[in-house]
Each structure stands twice: as C-alpha cells, then as structure tokens.
Amino acid sequence: MADILKEKKNQQYNEYVKQVTPTHSLPMNMLKAFVTGGIICVIGQFLLNYCGSLGLDKDTSGGWTSMILVLLSVILTGFGIYPKLAKFGGAGTLVPITGFANSVAAPAIEFQKEGQVFGIGCKIFTIAGPVILYGVFTSWLVGLIYWLLKAVHVL
C-alpha cells in the first residue's frame, strides 16, 4: 500500500515537473535542423558534382565527398567550432556523416590524456560505438532477409 502511494506521489511530482520545465521549441528546432542539415548536404552535393566534373566515376566521387566532409568535421571539432554548429543545428549536424565524425573525434581529443591505448584506444568509440555495432548488425539482418527471399524465389 505504501509503495503504491509513494509511486502515485512520484508520478504526480513528475507530471508537475514536466509542467514547470522549459523546453526548446520543437518547430524552431526542426527548422534549424532542416536548414543546417540542408547546407551540409548541399556542400556534399557540390563536392560530388565537382569530383564528377573531374572525370571520376560515381563511386569514387562518393568516396572523396565522404572523406572531405569527415575531414572538415574533424578539423572543426578540433577547433571547437563543431559544438557551436551543433548547438544551433541540432540533429541537422548530428545525422549527416559530419556528426558521426564529430562523435569519434571528440572522445579522441578528450581522452588523449589517458594514454594512446587506454585513453584514445578504449574510449574513441564511446559515442559512435553503438552506431557502428547496430549499423553492422542491421545490415547483416537485412542481408539475411534478402538472401532468404532470394532462396524462396520471391526476389
């Protein structure tokens, strides 16, 4: 009985907290994310077109584009500029490949003081690790489904 009362009290308190806690405006955040993410993608498209105009094939152009975007993001992370962009752009800076690069570079810089192995080595993927693990796992799962569908001649 006491547990139920306590739970009810906690629930009431949590609802009250929700009311008095200010939050970011969602439409505003979405707009900023759209614009920021859009600009990053336009830069990517520009790089892709430029590589194409140099006579590179589509796959090679894509490779160069990703590498240049990652390099830019890592440089901006090192100079402390990327967090400022992310503060403004939110998911617009986190979802593109530049966000991924930031999430790998930032721990590498922070944990460098703890050594090459136990610092950088162990902690470089503390943020990006889940993305890599579940990304690889999901692609394996999709591959398995694809193979099964092939095997039963659906595809």
């Binding site: 949590n14 992370t77 990327y82 992310a86 503060k87 939110g90 570079a105 930032a106």
Partner: protein, 336 residues
Amino acid sequence: MSQICGMSSIQFDKAPHIISAASVVGKKEGEGPLGKLFDLVGDDPMFGEDNWEKAESTLQKEAAQMALGKAGLLPTQIRYLFAGDLLGQLIATSFGVVDMNIPMFGLYGACSTCGESLSLGAMAVAAGYGDYVLALTSSHFASAEKQFRFPLEYGNQRPLAATWTVTGSGAFVLAPKGGKARITGVTTGKVVDFGVKDSMNMGACMAPAACDTIYQNFMDFNRQPEDYDKIITGDLGYVGQKILIDLLKEKGFDISKVHTDCGIEIYDQQTQDTHSGGSGCGCSAVTLAAMILPKIEKGSWKRVLFVPTGALLSTVSFNEGQSVPGIAHGVVIEHC
C-alpha cells in the same frame, strides 16, 4: 543544555566561527555578476596543468592556501581537513591536498559537499576536537562534463533545464573564535527521492531534498522563513527554485521573499548561455565565500540559512535506470 535539536539538527552551545574564506574560479565565473567578488579568477581553464582533473586539484590547492593565508595560519596548524569534489574516488581532492599534510576526511555529497564539510567541520570545532579546521570543496566544468556527460568537443544541444557546472573552489577555516560570522546550527539532510529520472533537470531532482531540509530546519529550531534574512540553496537553478517555493508553500511556508540560489546568482542567464543556472560543489562554495559571507560579516544579513543541494547519481546508476535522488545540508550562519 543539550545541543541536539529536534529531529535532525544541532544548535551549538559554542558556535564555531568562520575566520576566513577564499574563492578561486574560472574565466566564465569571473565574467559573471559576482566576478569582482572572487579572490582569484584564472584565465587558463587548465590552471597551468595538462589535464582537467589536475586543474581541479590546483583549484583546491590555491583556495586552501589562500584561506590559510588570510587567517595567518600554516597547514600544520590545521587539525582536520574536510574536503570533497565530484570526481570518481575524489581524485581532485586527493591530489589537491596531498602536499599540505593535514589529517583529512574525504567527503562525497555531490554538489551538497560544501554544506556537508561545513557541518562536520563545525561539529569538530564545537566539540573541541580541533582549534582550526579547514572545509574545502571544488568542481570543474570540463572534468564534470567528461565524467558525467560528453567530451567537450562533442556537438549536442543542452536542454533548457540543464545547469552549467561551476569551475571553482571554496575554502573555509573554522575556529572557536575570531571573524564576524559563526555557524550556530546545522540541519543534516536525508536522501530524498521523488522518482525523477531526468539527469539533465537536476533542479527538479534536488528541490524535494531542499524542501525537506528547510522544512526540518523550521521545525527543529521552531523558526519561520522571516527568522532568516536569506535562505540560500546551492544549485537548484531557476527550475528548481520554482519547484522548491511551490513545495514549501504546500507545507505552509512561503519563502519566496527570502529565497535565492547560488546557481542563479553566479551567472547571468541572459548573456552567459547557462540555461537554468550554475551547479557543482564549487557553485555554492565560491558564492558563500565571495558573496554571502561578506554580507553576513558586514551585518547586512544577520542570519542566513545556507543549503547546498546535491544530486546523487552516477553514470552507472543512470544507465541502469535508477532515478536521481537528492540531498541537501542546512547550515545556519549568523553575524557576530
């Protein structure tokens, strides 16, 4: 006469005096509304060291030496040191105080540690266990972010209810006599858990604990909010302040006229982008040393209830789905 007072308080027969205090802060705090009041503002966030943890140790060392210097004391004259910080296993404290060779009690009360160290220090002095006792606490924005949240260079958006960990350290020398402020009583806080799981809204996690301690203080000492010139919490911030005032109103006490919060005082919310306010062990410690004590010493405030607040979480408890309980320690400081 018994010094035991009510359920969880002590009223000292011989109230220990705070004979000196020192505050050392970082650049951002120096640019805030209290900037000119701090004893030392460091421009270098690393304070001449090569990592954040050592930087925080240096903060403690500087603050301790300054407080001792102001009191005209040598480390060998200090009987006990009560000290703590936010980092795992109190490494900022251990490496900060190692060279001073003072018998030490290491404390962890999250951001309430300043209140905890003053309470225990006052008890030790009042009981006659030491002529001089030092209370010392610190926090550092970068070392706290690294331990509890993300690497500094990682891009993310802080919620509006989030607070900004203060880079700073405060030190206080307690003695049976001297100085113009004394600790007349303490109310020791309990761990209070209202089931809030949002670690980015620490004001809401800690406000019930602050409410509990302040209410208990009123009961134990048979006082009203008006009996205090100020009731000053540690780091509830704007969100927590509103909740605390509401919670105490439900219990029949209106503290809105006398309440303020160190986390609100230390930064300018509009220009410094700190969202709900400041937090950390350093927040209440440096505000007490730089702003609150001088006002008590001058006599503009006769009696203040100082209530540092702490959120008792770790990254492990958070990942395992536990809520964030709070604790708050009340210290009654009076002009003399």
